[in-house]
Symmetry: C2
């Protein structure tokens, strides 16, 4: 059988380990000399590929340089937000497949979240329709952890570890003064509260800060929130809470929108601040205490120093597993994680395959039974679920300047 | 000679290594059995001490537990912002010295920045006036690096390492899309730009992001800023810049004030957002490109995972050196750092002593000759100065939950 090439792309927002998944795909691809000629990368995903922007990994990251991918956050190949047309009659599909054929592609991998799985779904369906032998596999990636039919997604563990460690540090920082104070930590995740819930991992003992965790899965009521804070301030002088950027009230209005409705910049444009800033002002105005808000921002998805070793290892295995599956003829699938709980209650993660068509149309949120205390906390079940995912430290290689030595496209 | 006790307090904002300085003082103090009976800690600085809130380190952190101080950010003893009265006639002075005598204090150490050195100055002057034998020594601490008569201050190296590493990660994160975008990173330091300048360490090659660095030492002109950004966008599609929270225009008005003048919350209160948010909106409105701002916030001063080993080591030595000096009879001094450049151009830091009365009244900003490109960058001299201070990684001990195991007061 004549050899073919493998091509891989990255899409959507980056994570700390999206390049570990890439490493898994590329290293496993290059290992299969007998079937795979070379491994190409799409620069800026499908969008860049349509402009013929590709690279050959044998030239781009030869030898040991490939290893650096595992400790480089961001998307090495560049990313895109490009939605393929719903209709498979659209001329973009034959254009893409002509390009695939010209490059003698046998396998296409796309690393990303929901939208990227939509691309995998469409391309695998189009391949079936035109009876193309090209195999299309999705590699999961999202800090939001919102993909269905998988225990969790690569990227979540590292982001959760960043949130847990950083919130623990913020609690230390906030506790130094005797003065009553409230600190609001705003965490990513517009529709799913998985990442915000990771704030609960920061607690060192029962009743420790962060005292409350507010998720987008529940309706947020500002009056109950203020009562929660007041009651916590009666016991402790320093109160830290975690809120998801996507908290909303019963009418479905995002809490941050209440803010943007009134602030305007000097040009008369609405100023969008986050819900953390809004709640900070609310607490200061209504309760008359010192208030501060901290938006954890992009470091949640790009911190190398707080990468979870478990997450990194799983991302690499998912990449490798996908290549092995594609070589066996699988297509239209996403690599998933299945959790096995061992007799000693430790957990083991196994890779599986799931129908990508189901995954791209659904969103996994935190089960309602894990949300407790009237929507202001998460249960012990969540802690048990999340703890194994943040374990282990990764040693990031340092450059001559003593700072992390990342790889990047020249 | 009868044994006496040593007491130490922490004051002002915490840093990643303020507890390393504390470790230095306490461990060295406990080592001198022949002269020092025990080492006490003031809880919440002078303010807590006035309420008799103290602890004995032999009970609070016995044996190996003391070691954890070196990897615990925040102020273990708690902090305060308490300014002693200017007049030494004030009754607070005899009150304090009565308390010192009751506890049989021979040596008092205060770890902090400018304001804490003011406390050291006043107490040492009062001791001289009443001919008290109590020795008063200041241990420097500030992420702002703005104390005079010392090469740098403990706390700065770790904060600078956090800024450099995080900005490097933010650049990776910002570079994944092909779309033109501007990212503004807002960094702490209202009057001195040392920490913002550390953003320049993030560059991997000449001309790399962050493209510009705006410090509070220069006047900030929004029109020149927009021209800088436009010119950078001509060459690159992703532009990242670092701005100090304290940038101001030629009239002395902080840039962030232009923002707060117009935004109000639902209660009619002025909304204070940072200059990063203001400039983000400005760039979006005026240049019509995607813009984002990231406020690095408190993690700059409390990140354990990005602690600089050099900073930690120096903070410990400064603590130990101070105790040795006090035992030799020194008082009214702050421990300083003197830099020696070796023939191989590596640098060695030696501890010294400086008159605390001079230090508490001055502020060290970046030398004007190190500020280049019309106030939009720092020179190679700054890089040479700062690079040794951020070197080395610190291994933070982990708890059973896999997260950093910090020590805290029960």
């Amino acid at each position: 059988m004549a050899k073919k090439n493998l091509i891989v792309g990255q899409s959507g927002g980056p994570t700390a380990v999206i390049n570990s998944s890439l490493y898994g795909v590329v290293s496993e691809g290059l290992n299969h000399h007998e079937e795979i000629e070379t491994v190409y990368g799409m620069v800026n995903g499908i969008e860049g590929f349509l402009e013929d922007r590709i690279l050959d990994f044998r030239q781009a990251l030869p030898g040991e340089k490939l290893e650096y991918l595992k400790t480089t956050p961001g998307a090495y190949l560049g990313s895109c937000r490009y939605k393929l047309p719903e209709s498979l009659e659209d001329p973009v599909y034959p254009r893409l497949f002509e390009k695939f054929e010209k490059l003698n592609i046998g396998w296409f991998f796309y690393i990303g979240g929901n939208d990227s799985m939509d691309t995998v779904s469409k391309l695998s369906r189009y391949a079936a329709r035109i009876k193309s032998p090209i195999r299309v596999i999705g590699e999961p990636k999202t800090i939001d952890n919102d993909l269905v039919n998988t225990d969790h997604t690569p990227g979540y563990g590292s982001a959760a570890k960043y949130v847990a460690s950083t919130v623990r540090e913020i609690v230390l920082d906030a506790s130094v003064y005797e003065k009553k104070s409230v600190t609001i930590v705003e965490i990513m995740g517009r529709h799913a509260g998985w990442l915000t819930a990771a704030g609960a991992l920061a607690r060192k003992y029962e009743g420790d800060n962060p005292r409350y965790i507010y998720l987008p899965e529940s309706n947020f009521d500002t009056e109950s929130f203020l009562k929660d804070i007041e009651s916590a301030l009666e016991k402790d002088c320093c109160v830290v809470v975690c809120v998801s950027e996507g908290i909303h009230d019963a009418s479905g209005t995002f809490i941050c929108e209440y803010d943007s409705a009134v602030g305007t910049d000097t040009f008369g444009h609405k100023m969008l601040a986050g819900c953390g800033k809004y709640l900070e002002n609310l607490v200061r105005s209504r309760l008359g205490v010192k208030a501060r808000s901290v938006e954890l921002n992009v470091s949640q998805r790009c911190s190398a120093s707080l990468m979870s070793a478990a997450d990194q290892r799983e991302a690499v295995s998912a990449g490798k597993f996908g290549v092995q599956a594609a070589l066996k003829g699988e297509t239209g699938k996403m690599v998933s994680f299945i959790r096995h709980t061992e007799p000693d209650s430790s957990c083991r993660i196994e890779c599986g395959l799931e129908d990508v068509n189901v995954i791209c149309n659904e969103e996994k949120t935190i089960p309602s039974e894990w949300i407790i205390r009237n929507g202001s906390d998460v249960s012990e079940e969540f802690i048990k679920y999340a703890l194994p995912l943040i374990q282990g430290q990764v040693e990031v290689p340092l450059g001559k300047d003593g700072l992390p030595a990342f790889v990047y496209r020249k």
